[in-house]
């Protein structure tokens, strides 16, 4: 069994190798050209290969040199905050900014350490009103405010 000395470096290295590999692999679909006339594949292949090599060094270091474990993941804030953002994007053009703001504020607040029902709704209302006045009324940004206005 492989003994990991530093899981953190090991995973970081794997990530780099994966990204570099993906770049080199995807780039092969484009013309390569030559050093004097570089095609669209030339530079990404160069950089990707370099990333694979350096990433491999990081992997090796993760196996050979003592280090730390990856920081622990706290899934609650991670998932709820990102879900809030994605839902904000999803509702924005369909249901308008006002509803999107409530979705974002409620979801992301659930990711916080304390959730006060009234406080959250009040915050959402204030932000909705403020955003309407500043961004739509004041700055005239082209953002749909109400459902189906797009």
């Amino acid at each position: 069994m492989i003994r990991f000395r530093s899981l953190r470096d090991f995973f970081a290295g794997l990530m780099f190798v994966a990204f570099g590999g993906a770049a080199v692999w995807l780039a092969q679909a484009y013309p390569f050209g030559n050093a004097g006339r570089m095609g669209p594949a030339y530079f990404p292949t160069l950089v990707g290969s370099l990333l694979i090599i350096l990433g491999a060094f990081v992997v090796v270091r993760g196996l050979a040199v003592h280090g730390q474990k990856p920081g622990s993941f706290h899934f609650r804030p991670l998932i709820l905050v990102l879900a809030g953002i994605v839902l904000f994007g999803f509702t924005l053009e369909r249901l308008g900014l006002m509803i999107a703001i409530f979705t974002l504020v409620v979801f992301s607040s659930l990711g916080g350490s304390e959730f006060r029902y009234r406080g959250v709704l009040f915050l959402a209302a204030v932000l909705a009103l403020g955003s309407f006045l500043v961004f739509i009324y004041g700055l005239g940004l082209q953002i749909p405010a109400w459902p189906f206005s797009y």
Partner: protein
Amino acid sequence: MELLGNIGLGLGVALTLVNLVYCFVGVLVGTLVGVLPGLGPLATMAMLLPLTFNLSPVTALIMLAGIYYGAQYGGSTTAILVNLPGESSSVVTCLDGYQMARQGRAGPALAVAALGSFFAGTFATLVIAAFAPPLAEVALNFGPAAYFSLMVLGLVSAVVLAAGSLLKAFCMILLGILLGLIGTDVNSGMARFTFNISALSDGIGFVIVAMGVFGFTEVILNLELKEKREILTKKVKNLWLTKSEFKAAAPAVVRGTLLGCMLGILPGGGALLSSFAAYSLEKKISKNRAQFGKGAIEGVAAPEAANNAGAQTSFIPLLTLGIPSNPVMALMIGAMMIHNIQPGPQIVINQPQLFWGMIASMWIGNLMLVIFNLPLIGMWVRLLSVPYRLLFPSILLFCGIGIYSLSSNTFDIYIAALFGLLGYIFVKLECEPAPLMLGFILGPMLEEYLRRAMLLSRGDPTIFLTNSISAGMLIASAILLVIVIVPTGRKKREDVFTE
């Protein structure tokens, strides 16, 4: 005196009512985000970018610059009163600043931070005014090979001067370059790495990546920490320094300023590095060495002067070469491009009112900061009591609206969320996101200059060594690398960041 004429021209631009108002707004907002821990100038500038769409370019840049150096002022207030760095560049200010506050000397600590910053800001403004134009003249003669090597030097020194693992930082740069290549290749018109998604054909916007990695990731990380803030609410009174305090602080301010000016110019430098370096320098040469960490005024004066000086002189590579030395400057490039200004040496020559107006506004902004900040400290302290549970949904919302307003495309919001997730993984694996951002912004330029240089040399890579400017840059990069790889150099580098 040409310089005086130029400064006069700049003051003429900066003193118009519109520019004064936006300069004020910029420094005020900057101080605000500086005071608040967990909200950096980068995310703030990105959030406020849509506000600048309707402004003239010079006004927009004046406001954005104000946010950056304003944040350096605000960060020190939190560091001194709460023992939390409001800004990463104020980390070292906590060490002695908070100790001073505990001893009831919060007033002098805040005063020396503000006055030191003002002195540094004034001096750095003069440095920019004196050195940027001749540097721009030199830069006009750079060919593609020289530009390529210059960027290599920039990226190498950015890595060398930053904290953390060298190897991983290089990987992050390369990853950033690859991400920057997503979109249509300008030379062949071919879409690269777009997965047939039309929204990706113009590439991923810099602001979107920055919001994800610096805005969303920060919020998520902050939510993992339990909130505990111990604010020294005792009335801050007696802002004046005693004679002996002034005597101790003045030379430290001067040393910090000079060091900050030099480190700010270096690619990869800026406020953060300057403050760390100034503190360790002061700790080595001060007569008052034993007091460091126990409330030495030099330990506040030097890093505060240095971070402000460094924040300002980091505009020099941006304005003269068009090369960002840190992610904040990369965002300034983004802002310039939105306003159809091509960053580079042509700015100084072709758009003097923009260049000099910005410089003059920096000095005026610094003046505003020192005048308004000390009386407003009570207000900033009260602001710190706003709980994070109210703050972070607002930050997320402003980021979201900021992203959408860039190109009215909700797909950008999803991309930013993806980068929020990636940024979170990076932090957990201890990979610094700043080099990624630099690679991201420089990637397309690197490719372009490499292609042009190799086209001119008909595929002969020795052009990078036969061109003397290019060779010089590459040799400098090599020397830098060797210095940090040999054991003594490596240890020095680690020392600077372990306070």
